[in-house]
């Protein structure tokens, strides 16, 4: 029986150790903070200097007095006459009050240097006012106000004033009648928005749209990436080793066929859509269209339920060609629209649709390459799947050796080509080689040492150790063979001299060496694994996508903005690109986390009905993720508006650009307007996005 009341006593020595550890921890914390205090230059005397306090006070005062409104003023004159040198028969005229502004001069006759008092009535409250003396020559002489010693004075709250001036000395003026004119500034109409406000509003609209376009452009790519970065969707995707190797070997083949043949067809379609019928190409394209149409019709006629192999091939070719033709035609139409509508409001749409067309024009060849590569690889898998299944283990090993060698060479060759572009990208081939090699020794151990049938994966620790050992050896080997160290230290790129020309690709010695290493590693892995085992391709895609997304996300949009400004010049376009790129990475991550948290039940249910992967995603995954996707997209727009207010500081357009100029010119009252606008827009969006998010999550 346990006595629940007796708590086991901790030994005294342990308690002392605990106390010591706490004191040590506190000491370390204090030391850390002291260091932090020093490196961040925290200084409490500087802020107390009077000059600085005055400066910051002025700047803040101006920032908080934003130049939002302006007032138009009208000058209204009130006059009264003065008779010089007071003739004997002078009688001061009677002044009758009127509705408008008027003045009374006392006395109404005066000599030079006399002081006269001017009383004004019905002026605008606090209006800026000044006094002119007009002799018979009509010339205006500004008179200083005695009380202030200045020309200008301000009327009282009730619109009256009383000032004194001295009568000017004007030769031979005796007996003349001079005029005193008081000019007051009267507000003309209600206050209006200032020119700065107009500019700020214009830039704010630009900012909001900058954020909107950056966000909406990023939705589709990040939605696609989010599927690749969701482990619950990707982890189960496994592929037979043989099929994977076939796919890797066939992908480049498909790419070349796609870019050379189908991409060319796409370009022709682009021209047809653009109504450009010149040259023999249009004839070729038109006949290609007719043949395609005829094939589709025939294909539909011989519809059958059981797909045979020729049928499968035909279908896939049709999908590849058909999609490129349709995309090409649509792109061509876009270009046509862009060329046709260039003015007025159709011009807006023309420019938009035209640049979509341009986008298709840029993308059609690579797109054809990718689609064809995927389809050719898919066909290769479909054709060879049965063969790999029935292969004897020995034949499987030999096939693995050959295909693995080819795949490894292609993979490392590709990495080397990327690695040639910048010194630190040169780390890619060693890393990938290490990845390939990490499986080698564990495989040897599993197949020839470990014999436990129920635990075919062997001892985990040994496997891990062997994996790391192989990876490190391969890394160092590749690192040395490819002279990566030199590239890292000196920033030099490997020589590009072509040593092997294959017609469509030219290989330098660097790429060739990498391919050799890849071939050896690939062949060894292929031989060990054979072609029948399953490879978790989904996990590899998941890890790759996640790594890229994380790397992209860690680069601030401001830094991306700097690069894009170099590429596309100063302006909102650079800002759009920077924010879009960052949004893709960030939304991709957020979206994929939503996919990972969905209910897996419907996926299982739809798989059990015989739905394929695409259908399962459309009907089991998509309905579940639409609400969070909407919520996160709103959230991202909100963030993008905030970011676009400062992306202008690096030249990315929007209100930040204006704000920076105003601050540099020390026009804090104008800067205040921009700050106010940012505060208003950000808080409205903050509220709106929170409200929408609340509805959808």
């Amino acid at each position: 029986m346990n006595n629940k009341n007796s708590v086991p006593q901790r030994p005294r020595s342990q308690a002392a150790l605990r106390r010591l550890l706490i004191i040590l921890g506190l000491a370390v914390t204090v030391a850390l903070f002291s260091y932090g205090w020093t490196v961040t230059n925290i200084n409490l005397t500087v802020p107390q200097e009077p000059v600085r306090q005055t400066n910051v006070g002025n700047a803040l005062r101006e920032l908080l007095s934003p130049n939002v409104f302006t007032q138009e003023y009208e000058i209204i004159d009130a006059t009264a006459s003065v008779v010089m040198n007071c003739p004997a028969d002078f009688v001061a005229p009677e002044v009758t009050p009127v509705d408008g502004p008027y003045i009374v001069v006392d006395p109404a006759c005066a000599s030079s240097d006399d002081t006269v008092t001017i009383r004004g009535y019905n002026f605008f409250p606090n209006a800026l006012t000044r006094v002119n003396w007009m002799a018979t020559d009509g010339e205006r002489r500004i008179r200083q106000v005695n009380e202030l010693g200045r020309d200008n004075f301000v009327s009282r709250e009730d619109g009256t004033f009383e000032v004194t001036i001295n009568v000017p000395r004007i030769r031979g003026s005796a007996g003349e009648t001079h005029t005193i004119e008081v000019r007051g500034l009267f507000p003309d109409g209600p206050p209006q928005l200032s020119a700065t406000t107009g500019l700020v509003i214009e830039k704010m609209i630009e900012t909001i749209f900058l954020a909107l376009i950056a966000t909406s452009v990023s939705i589709l790519p990040s939605a696609i990436l989010s599927f690749l970065a969701a482990h619950n969707l990707m982890r189960p995707i496994r592929i037979q080793m043989g099929s994977l190797l076939i796919a890797i070997v066939l992908l480049p083949v498909g790419w070349f066929i796609g870019t050379l043949l189908i991409g060319r067809l796409g370009e022709m379609m682009l021209r047809i859509g653009n109504l450009d019928f010149s040259g023999a190409e249009s004839v070729a394209a038109t006949s290609a269209l007719i043949i395609l149409g005829a094939t589709v019709v025939v294909n539909r006629r011989i519809r059958s339920d059981e797909p045979g192999l020729p049928r499968l091939v035909l279908n896939r070719v049709l999908i590849a060609v058909g999609s490129i033709v349709v995309i090409g035609l649509i792109g061509g139409l876009g270009l046509l629209a862009g060329r046709t509508f260039t003015t007025d409001w159709p011009g807006y749409f023309g420019r938009f649709i035209g640049s979509l067309g341009q986008m298709v024009e840029l993308m059609i060849v690579p797109l054809a390459g990718i689609i064809t590569a995927v389809i050719v690889a898919g066909m290769g898998i479909a054709v060879t799947r049965g063969a790999f299944k029935t292969m004897t283990p020995t034949a499987g090993r030999i096939a693995g050796l050959v295909l693995g060698g080819l795949s490894g060479a292609l993979l490392l060759g590709l990495m080397a080509m990327i690695g040639m572009s910048a010194a630190w990208l040169g780390l890619l081939p060693p890393i990938i080689a290490a990845g390939l090699a990490s499986g080698l020794l564990p495989q040897v151990y599993r197949q020839f040492v470990s014999t436990d049938p129920l635990r075919p994966r062997g001892d985990r620790f040994v496997l891990m150790l062997l994996g790391w050992a192989g990876a490190i050896v391969a890394f160092i080997l590749t690192y040395n063979v490819l002279h990566t160290q030199r590239a890292l230290v000196e920033g030099t790129l490997p020589p590009t001299a072509v040593v092997l020309d294959l017609g469509i690709v030219q290989l330098s010695s660097y790429v060739l060496n990498a391919m050799l290493i890849g071939a050896v590693l690939g062949a060894a892995s292929g031989f060990l694994v054979g072609t029948r085992s399953n490879f978790g391709i989904g996990s590899v895609m998941y890890t790759t996508t996640r790594t890229i997304l994380n790397a992209l996300r860690s680069i601030e949009p401001l830094i991306m903005g700097l690069v894009f400004v170099i590429w596309v010049g100063i302006g909102p376009f650079a800002g759009v690109l920077a924010l879009a790129l960052h949004s893709i990475a960030s939304l991709g991550k957020l979206y994929s986390e939503q996919i990972e948290s969905i209910d897996a039940g419907p996926i299982e249910a739809l798989q059990s009905t015989g739905a394929n992967r695409l259908q399962t995603i459309m009907y089991a995954v998509v309905p579940q993720i639409i609400p969070p996707y909407i919520a996160f997209t709103m959230y991202r727009w909100d963030i993008n508006v905030r970011m676009s207010t400062i992306i202008g500081f690096v030249g990315g357009g929007g209100i930040g650009f204006l704000l920076q100029q105003q601050i540099n010119l020390l026009r804090y009252r104008d800067a205040g307007v921009a700050v106010l606008a940012i505060a208003i827009v950000v808080s409205i969006l903050d509220y709106a996005s929170a409200a929408i998010r609340e509805r959808y999550t």
């Binding site: 635990r455 209910d599 039940g601 249910a605 059990s608 009905t609 739905a611 259908q615 579940q624």
Partner: protein
């Protein structure tokens, strides 16, 4: 005829869920699978339509080796095997009708699903299936608005859309109250008797197995413990299946 030969499943973490199972199930039989939680009932059912890939052994259905099927063949097999689940596994935010129609996906052109289109004939078929389980009027409600029993009936309607020859039911009534349990079991019975479907149903309650099935299979720690008529399970057998401390709970 469903033949299971030497079926073994070892999970990645080394857990042995099924050990050398051999079974022969003739067409049209109503088979209950009983056993404690973790005894391998769900794994066995999921191996049959390969939601889980078996480690060893073969499953042969109507002369075809399901365990060796390629992806395309597997789709063809799966669409003739309906399955219902303890948690119903409906898409809660979608309408009942969409949930039911999604059972037909294996038959229609995958391109349609990109634009969320179902042919009118499929819609009519879905309405008929809903009528059969008696919740036609709920067709346009969200699935989440339905009660548990209604959701399971939607699950049955979805399976009916597959035009199945066999029905797998993984604890179909474990989340339902006793009265609803019987109504769901009656639908399964009707499918078995009227439509001549083979039904494989895992159950917690022996009383339900006794009431509805022709044959009972009992699993214990992944091993076939009993295979025979429900009437042959006496108290000793029961204790062998469920452990010494178990007491049979009746559900009426």
């Amino acid at each position: 005829m469903l033949i299971i030969e030497n079926l073994t499943k070892v999970y990645e973490n080394g857990f042995v869920a099924l050990k050398n199972i051999n079974l022969e199930i003739p067409d049209g039989q109503f088979v209950s699978i009983i056993g404690l939680s973790g005894s391998g009932k769900s794994t066995l059912l999921r191996c049959i339509n390969r939601l889980i890939d078996p480690t060893e052994g073969r499953i042969i259905w109507n002369g075809m080796d399901i365990t060796a099927a390629t992806d395309d063949e597997l789709h063809m097999v799966r669409r003739r095997i309906g399955m219902i689940f303890q948690q119903f596994n409906l898409v809660k935010r979608s309408s009942v009708l969409t949930n039911v129609m999604s059972g037909r996906l294996g038959y229609i052109n995958p391109v349609y699903s990109l634009i969320n289109y179902f042919p009118a004939a499929e819609k009519a078929r879905a309405m008929a299936a809903l009528q059969r389980v008696g919740i036609q009027e709920k067709a346009y409600n969200r699935a989440s608005a339905l009660s548990g029993g209604q959701q399971q009936r939607v699950g049955i309607a979805r399976a009916l859309m597959q035009d199945p020859e066999m029905m797998l039911a993984d604890e179909p009534v474990a989340s339902l109250d006793p009265a609803t349990s019987h109504s769901v079991m009656k639908y399964l019975q009707e499918l078995n008797k009227v439509d001549k479907l083979t039904v494989l149903c895992s159950l917690h309650f022996l009383s339900l197995a006794r009431a509805y099935s022709d044959r009972v299979i009992a699993l214990k720690d992944g091993v076939l413990e009993f295979d025979g008529s429900p009437r042959d399970i006496d108290n000793d057998r029961f204790k062998a299946i469920y452990g010494e401390d178990a007491v049979e709970v009746e559900i009426h």
